[in-house]
């Protein structure tokens, strides 16, 4: 259920020249997003929404929060520079503490965000630019504030090798600059990041009052800037949110505030929460869970009329795919043979069947409309013909000039991953390959599988990706950009692709406007899959979340691909 994963590898290679001033959302004027979000039809104020959780939040400290459901939830009391707003299934990036979506005059190397100047914390004190800057600065102390994404540290230029306010108390971070009036904040990046306004949705770009910073204990009571504040928090047991009267709805473009309180009850196990929600008894009527996918009891509720209005089925951000190592599988026909031999059907079946996921030709989800392409894989629409194309696979293998029929398949020993690997092994064997199954321990997989030029280097890597922000830039740069590799480490580019024609497209994308960039990134992915046969996306995991019958206003959040509780209300 976690969106959490490795942070992007160092993106130094992205540094490139700029052309024009970019506006992330080309279609809409920024003013549209600074006005309050429209009320949810039928929603009423009052009551308590209960959130059932298996365990405690890993971290509620904004700088350390990196888990899908929590990233949605913590917005109830944490505002960040920018944020996603989802209304009626449409998701936009909106300015949150910022007053606009940022401007750059150097193609993304320097970003200036105007700030709202009328925001307050729960104690009534003003949210200042200095607090925004301090929030960024403390994220540099990720030795103490561990667990979060490291984008701020990775992207912002750090000429003085700043190590964070706990390590170096008196020192400044000169590349984050507040205007004299405090009504704008400037970020000087080490390289041009055209998609930087997406990055500023993360918690490192949240205001933290320095005087209230309690370091690793800050997460026990983050000072609220949102519509709710923490009333009590017993770790592992219960979190209670109540209204924050200092928050002003007029200043907020994305948050609703219907219930009088939210209570997070922690510590029940998967099955208990599933059954509790299905039963719709007692407090479960006004409950929802965003860390518990309905798994065990799915067959009982899926497609059953009485549960329909309470069951939310949607693609998560998680794409399961196979990277084909172009370093070791050099012949394009062998790669195409592998691609054709992938039996989407048996692999998804191993993971739980069509209720567990939906077939995908692409690792860019359909919801990222600007980049998604509806291309065929091995000449067929995979959603209609998910079976392996063995004849074609054999034909490609016969055509190979540099045949390689023994393949080493790397996979992780966790959950259903061995089952999926076994399913692939079967269809590869049927296509005429010999397969060496290479199981890695769950805790140590990504780094060893990415080692280049080592003995037993895998030919196929069974892995997955969930985008960190809802754009192709959050996927294609991480997974397919050859510039991120070193001679012995493929980083997250597990297919080791570094094709000159595609790298030229990356270079072009680097300096393009967001819309054009997204389109180019879509081109790159299509080419990598269709022309280079270096990647096989298999499916997006489907999430099945459930809510009690008395909870309204829930929706799938496009920013975090999770069930959002921002608009939740208790039905009368």
């Amino acid at each position: 259920m976690s969106l959490k994963k490795k942070a992007l590898a160092v993106v130094g290679a992205l540094a490139l020249a700029s052309t024009a001033l970019l506006s992330v959302n080309t279609a809409s004027a920024a003013t549209t997003f600074t006005t309050p979000v429209a009320p949810i039809k039928g929603a009423v104020k009052g009551g308590t929404v209960t959130i059932l959780a298996q365990g405690d939040f890993e971290h509620l400290d904004p700088a350390r929060n990196y888990v899908g459901g929590t990233l949605d939830f913590y917005r109830l009391f944490t505002r960040s520079l920018t944020q996603y707003r989802t209304v009626n299934g449409k998701t936009d990036l909106v300015p949150d503490v910022a007053a606009d979506l940022g401007t750059t005059k150097d193609a993304g190397k320097t970003w200036v965000f105007k700030l709202r100047t009328n925001l307050k914390y729960e104690d009534g004190s003003k949210i200042t630019c200095a607090d925004m800057k301090y929030g960024v600065m403390r994220s540099y102390n990720d030795d103490i504030l561990d667990g979060g994404p490291t984008y701020a540290k990775d992207f912002i230029d750090n000429p003085t090798n700043y190590k964070g306010p706990y390590t170096e108390p008196g020192k400044d971070l000169p590349t984050v600059i507040c205007s004299p009036k405090g009504d704008s904040i400037t970020f000087k990046l080490s390289v041009a990041i055209p998609y930087f306004p997406y990055v500023t949705t993360f918690g490192a770009f949240s205001p933290i009052p320095k005087a209230k910073d309690t370091k690793q204990n800050y997460e026990l009571h983050p000072i609220s800037s949102g519509p709710y504040k923490i009333k009590s928090y017993e770790r592992g047991k219960q979190l209670v949110l109540v209204r924050n009267n200092q928050w002003d709805a007029k200043t907020d473009p994305l948050r609703w505030n219907y219930p009088d309180s939210y209570v997070v009850k922690m510590g029940a196990d998967q099955n208990v929460i599933e059954q509790s929600l299905i039963s719709d008894s007692g407090a479960a009527k006004t409950s929802v869970s965003f860390d518990t996918n309905i798994i065990t009891n799915l067959s009982k509720v899926l497609n059953v009329a009485k549960y329909k209005s309470r069951l939310f089925n949607f693609d998560s951000a998680y794409n399961r795919y196979y990277a084909i190592n172009v370093d070791t599988v050099k012949d394009i026909n062998v790669r195409k043979a592998i691609q054709c031999a992938v039996d989407f059907k048996s692999i998804l079946l191993a993971a739980g069947g069509t209720s567990a996921g939906s077939y995908a030709n692409s690792t860019i989800p359909k919801s990222i409309k600007a980049a998604y392409r509806n291309f065929n894989v091995c000449g067929r629409d995979v959603s209609k013909h998910p079976e392996a194309q063995l004849d074609q696979a054999k034909a490609f293998l016969a055509k190979a000039t540099n045949p390689k029929t023994t393949l080493r398949l790397a996979y992780r020993d966790r959950g259903v991953e061995p089952l999926r690997a076994a399913a692939l092994e079967q269809s590869l064997k049927a296509a005429g390959f010999t397969v060496i199954m290479d199981k890695y321990p769950s805790s140590d997989f990504y780094a060893p599988a990415a080692k280049r030029g080592v003995p037993n280097e895998p030919d196929i890597i069974q892995t997955s990706w969930a985008f960190d922000w809802a754009a192709a830039s959050g996927i294609v740069y991480a997974l397919f950009d050859g510039r991120s590799m070193t001679a012995d480490d493929a980083k997250s580019n597990q297919s080791r692709g570094n094709f000159p024609d595609l790298q030229a497209l990356f270079a072009k994308a680097d300096v393009s406007s967001t819309a054009a960039q997204e389109k180019l990134l879509g081109d790159i992915e299509q080419s990598l899959i269709v022309d280079k046969a270096a990647h096989v996306s298999v499916y997006f995991e489907t999430s099945h979340y459930m809510a009690g019958s008395k909870v309204g206003g829930l929706q799938v959040d496009g920013g975090y691909s999770t069930l959002s509780v921002l608009g939740a209300y208790v039905k009368k």
């Binding site: 592992g236 510590g267 029940a268 039963s279 008894s281 007692g282 009485k306």
Partner: protein, 330 residues
Amino acid sequence: MLKYTLRRIVSGTLVLGIVSAIVFSIFYILPADPARLACGKSCTPELVQRIQVALELDQPLAVQYGRFIKGIFVGRTYLANTDAARTCSAPCLGYSYQTDLPVRQLLMDRLPATLSIAVGASILWLLIGLSSGIISALRRGTWIDRTSQGFALAAASLQIYFVGLILQFIFVDKLAWLPMPGYSSPFEYPLDWAKQMVLPWVTLAFLLSAIYSRLTRSGMIETMGEDFVRTARAKGLSSRDVNIKHVLRAAMTPIVTVFGLDLGSLLGGAVITEYVFNIPGLGKLATEAVSNLDLPVVTGTVLFAAFFIITANIVVDLLYSVLDPKVRLT
């Protein structure tokens, strides 16, 4: 009687001590590193080291056990004389490796669900078991007797997970007469509580009432042949009075004993029932703790269960002396 009770309490406490020592030793020799388990996902060797110190796992087993026992009686302070000192008041059962919550609190949180199952089910199985056993005994050899005893034999040989899942399939999934079993607070949502408890109650009662029915029937029939029953009839008592005041009264004593022990072990956690129906009670807590190798919670649940069983034993023995005047406790 008082002396006897005190002596039983002392010996019961000793048994608890032995139980805890055994559980403690078993986990100590298991090839599982509690510090590594408590460390979580982003773990470093330094963190493991810190946790070992924090959990006092660097101490010898005897010292750990001694502190654990001390914690139960007078409380204990972890990492005393440091910034991270944390006091756990008596009776202290330690902190969960998994959630870092006090084990005592976890047990208390789970007790109401188990209590709901145990009390509700026991009332049901006593009602069904005793009445069917009595009817069977009084109508011995008739079709009612044969039907109910045949049913009891079949029921007693079935398993909770089988009956439970079948009933759930029928009444929850197919007919939708009942909600998914679970636990809601009986004080806030009495109706939902009852509805969700119906299946666990019925399932447990189904199996146990079969046993009680057979016990009652054989006890009654045996007692009916006793001379004192003939005496009661010779006095001119109505057959109702004879059966209830004389036959049942005498047949009840062994049933009370069995019932006390059954209830005691149920209170320690209706493990299978809670597991089958996913009810967050003590039994479920125990199975979760075992699968997570959460030693303090395992120890806590085992001790808690042992406590209930030992208490039930003492209560049953005391009750026995009340029920049977021939028994004198010394």
